[in-house]
């Protein structure tokens, strides 16, 4: 079936079977690979994208359920929160292997969009579904706090 997908402000027409995860349409059909495959079962958060502004795990989001929604991937980030997060990530040298970081950033932007100055407990709670095997967690926590400062400045 042909599905109309609004992604990063552009409308795409994609031929995909119902039940196909959004992740694989983004990666293999639209060839945008910033959104990562980590587990396929929504347990690691590497595939996090925004659907109508909310972070979701694209590996467990079926393509037919997001027709008409506004989808944003790491490649399409442009909000003030996103700029603050990406700036803070660079300032604090958060990344190691980097493979989970698109998902971490998408979640962090989701957090700061709904809560501009989260507490440590709120950060830990919100980010708990994003795994980082390099264990860059304390820099992620610090970078979210830094991004919060940047947004207030």
């Amino acid at each position: 079936m042909t599905i109309e997908l609004k992604l990063n402000g552009t409308t795409h027409h994609v031929d995909a079977e119902p039940g196909t995860p959004l992740l694989w349409v983004i990666r293999d059909d639209l060839k945008m690979t910033g959104t990562k495959f980590g587990c396929g079962v929504a347990a690691c958060g590497a595939c996090t994208v925004h659907v109508d502004g909310e972070p979701v795990r694209s590996c467990q989001t079926y393509i037919e359920d997001v027709e008409g929604s506004e989808i944003t991937t790491i490649e399409g980030l442009s909000s003030d929160a996103a700029k603050a997060v990406q700036t803070a990530w660079a300032e604090l040298d958060v990344v190691q292997c980097g493979y989970c970081q698109s998902g971490q950033i998408m979640s962090a932007v989701g957090l700061l969009t709904e809560n501009k100055s989260p507490s440590v407990a709120e950060i830990d709670d919100y980010m708990n579904g994003n795994a980082c095997r390099c264990a860059t967690y304390q820099r992620i926590r610090a970078a979210i706090q830094r991004a919060s400062e940047l947004m207030e400045a």
């Binding site: 490649e75 708990n128 795994a131 264990a135």
Partner: protein
């Protein structure tokens, strides 16, 4: 996609035309210009002034791209931001790991240690040649000229380095260029420099093997035997025919599985679900992990197969313990562990028009990629190119002596007509279930103490599965039957403990095994540092002071180990934990580096443990990139603690019981509240940093828990009734 191979041919022609200065080494290790014996350089300078570090080590997050670029930037007197980097092609003659012999690869925390002088020499040679070229053009004395931030100046003149590249490329390479004095270092040791690889990882443009998208490529996934040694008896792909995008299913010629080809990844996964395989398990492993555990424990009570002690006799040790005032004894168990790097494994083989092939891989062992493809595809070595790209973690997993996934992709590609690129994709389930685990180990230690609380004997027996036997590294690591990686960190401890004896018994592997971040230290440090704590308690002494008694000698190892211990204790406020909190300590040498850690924990009203803070002190020689060192200690601690807390692979009839993150739960952001790292200033040659943070992490948590709780001697901790918040 721009391929490194394209860049490579540009390099060769540009160097030949004098438009580029390229410095590498000859196969004998002498500095040389590219275009001659050293076609493959460590550094290039182009006529537009671009300086590029060519990295012989891959980047899996450990910071090599930053570290090797730093060495070039330093000797060329440039800012780190001004240096470009790219990964080297496969050429073990030029890019061999000096710690491995004639083999190009990354591992054992050797990247900086073995490259440190090579990259500095290459950078220094390029600097001297550019200055000499300028001096000749200006009729000046080279000693009057300086190169700084891409500009050569002196004798009243100045010019950009690019202007001198053509002339510099005609000069002889100095055999021993003058290295900068460490007092003049600007980039080495600068904690404020930023990682070279981070921008692309922040904006989503970084390309990993999983991200290769070539025109007309096929995706292949493998249905593997669930048990080690099982082979395909027959298979039925009829069910896959209805999956849109399914192409074909073919048994791998080595019998290890069925390759399922499709146009796209999701179709390949779906088709795999629909392919039914009858396995021949006649030669397959049938033991469970409980069987292995029983065998290991039985071995500990028997006479050890190998005597791993160079000094003490077992009879002397036993006699000393027999006559001791007090004896403490513990038996330890360490389960199989998966590496689970964030990026599941995979690689792509791309056929080129001239009959050669390129493998796009986060290649940890490029020499393996190269020789495996040459052999399986029956192509001469020069028709195989290895394009090393970023790797989404490894922890050892991308470096298999058997080149497991490279063999899979080569076999899968060989069965096609070789006109389309073939991309191998592993799922997380493949990653967790397909073996290559940290082997299971058991230790039994008896320590005798005299009436002054001094150790008089230490009888230490180890049973486990050898990682190195049967691999091409066996001749380097295995001596007199003893796989050194089974006893490293114990039998070679810097502690000056009298009457130490070590015995080792090998256990037949029940699954494929592999080094895992810190290798043998991943279990030996836990045992050594738990026993030191237990012995200190039995002696009625402070855990730090007790350890220092055995580090009071004048060997550099003892002094450096004592120094990190003292620094960590001081910075953590050892002995001054707040009410309701407990502290533990551990210190260990691995990969040439020394790391001490102090853990501070609290318990909630239900007794669940929260890790409030880990304070670490590290001595890894000269700190090239202090912030990368801190990041590696943070990551190494997280990796060690997360697995000690809750991870294990168990086998039922030779097949893994765990399949994905929900039952191999990663460390999460809330698990450790804070990590603080302190670096000992040092002028010693740089040593490892990717692994040394991991070994003390398990025992430091165990020692903190044991202050007011149980002594955990079997991992993971959650199996022993320990709860974490």
């Amino acid at each position: 996609m721009t391929l490194n191979t394209t860049r490579r041919s540009f390099l060769a022609s540009a160097a030949a035309a004098g438009g580029m200065l390229a410095i590498g080494v000859t196969p004998t290790g002498a500095l040389a210009k590219a275009g001659g014996n050293a076609l493959n350089p460590f550094v290039t300078v182009s006529s537009d002034g671009t300086v590029t570090a060519i990295l012989k080590h891959f980047e899996k997050g450990q910071g090599t791209a930053t570290g090797l670029s730093t060495l070039i930037a330093e000797e060329m007197n440039m800012g780190l931001d001004a240096i470009e980097f790219e990964f080297a092609p496969s050429n073990p003659d030029v890019y061999n790991n000096l710690a491995f012999g004639p083999f190009q690869g990354t591992g054992g925390s050797t990247a900086i240690a073995n490259s440190y002088m090579q990259y500095r020499m290459a950078g220094a040679a390029a600097r001297e040649m550019l200055i000499t070229a300028a001096a000749q053009r200006w009729n000046a004395d080279p000693a009057d000229l300086t190169l700084l931030d891409g500009v050569i100046s002196g004798a009243g003149k100045e010019g950009m380095i690019g202007e001198f590249v053509a002339e510099a490329a005609t000069l002889d390479v100095p055999s021993e260029p003058t290295l900068k004095d460490p007092s003049a270092f600007r980039v080495i040791g600068d904690a404020s420099v930023h990682r070279k690889d981070q921008d692309a990882k922040i904006n989503g443009t970084a390309v990993y093997a999983m991200d290769i998208q070539l025109e007309n490529q096929m995706v292949v996934v493998i249905k593997r035997s669930p048990r080690m040694g099982g082979t395909v008896a027959s298979f039925d792909a009829a069910g896959a025919q209805s999956v849109k995008g399914f192409i074909q299913a073919l048994a791998l010629p080595n019998g290890a599985g069925v390759a399922i080809y499709a146009d796209k990844t999701w179709a390949a996964f779906q088709a795999r679900e629909a392919v039914e395989v009858e396995w021949d398990f006649s030669a397959a492993e049938s033991r469970s992990s409980e069987d292995i555990k029983r065998e290991l424990f039985a071995a500990l009570d028997d006479t050890s197969e190998f005597d791993a002690s160079s000094e003490a006799e077992l009879s002397d040790t036993l006699a000393a313990i027999e006559g001791a005032e007090k004896v403490v004894e513990e038996t330890f168990y360490f389960p199989l562990l998966a590496h689970a790097p964030m990026e599941p494994l995979g690689a792509t083989i791309e056929p080129l028009a001239d009959g050669s092939v390129v493998i796009h891989d986060g290649a940890q062992f490029p020499t393996n990629d190269h020789s495996v493809l040459s052999s399986i595809l029956e192509l001469p070595m020069e028709k195989v190119k290895v394009n090393t790209i970023l790797a989404g973690g490894s922890f050892g997993r991308r470096a298999t002596p058997t080149a497991d996934y490279q063999v899979e992709i080569a076999l899968a590609f060989a069965m096609t007509d070789r006109t389309r690129p073939v991309k191998l994709v592993w799922s997380r389930e493949d990653d967790i279930t397909a073996g290559y685990y940290r082997p299971a180990f058991a230790h039994k230690v008896r320590v005798g103490l005299d009436s002054d609380g001094k150790i008089v004997g230490w009888d230490h027996r180890i049973a486990g599965q050898s990682i190195f036997k049967g691999t091409f590294f066996e001749s380097v690591i295995v001596r007199d039957g003893i796989d050194h990686s089974s006893v490293e960190g114990a039998a070679d401890t810097p502690y000056a403990i009298p009457g130490m004896h070590f015995g080792l018994t090998d256990n037949k592997p029940a699954t494929t095994l592999l080094w895992w971040r810190s290798v043998g230290h991943s279990h030996t440090a836990y045992v050594m540092e738990s026993m030191m704590d237990i012995a200190a308690k039995a002696a009625g002494k402070d855990a730090v002071a007790f350890r220092l008694e055995y580090l009071a000698g004048d060997t550099p190892d003892q002094q450096r180990k004592a120094a990190v211990l003292e620094l960590a204790a001081e910075k953590a406020g050892w002995g001054k934990a707040a009410d309701g909190r407990s502290q533990g300590v551990a210190v260990h040498k691995s990969f040439g580096s020394f790391v001490a850690e102090v853990a501070e924990i609290s318990r909630d009203e239900d007794g669940a443990i929260k890790i409030e803070k880990i304070t670490a002190a590290v001595d890894c020689g000269l700190a090239i990139n202090p912030d990368v060192i801190k990041a590696q200690i943070e990551g190494g601690i997280g990796y060690g603690i997360g697995h000690a807390m809750r991870n294990e692979i168990t086998l039922t009839e030779g097949a893994a019981d765990q399949v994905n993150f929900p039952d191999y739960e990663p460390l999460r952001i809330h698990d450790i509240a804070a990590i603080e790292t302190h670096i000992i200033p040092s002028a010693e040659a740089p040593t490892g940093i990717g692994e040394p943070g991991t070994p003390p992490a398990g025992p430091v948590l165990a020692n903190a828990i044991a202050v007011d709780g149980p002594r955990i001697t079997s991992l993971p901790m959650i199996n022993e009734g320990v709860e974490f918040v």
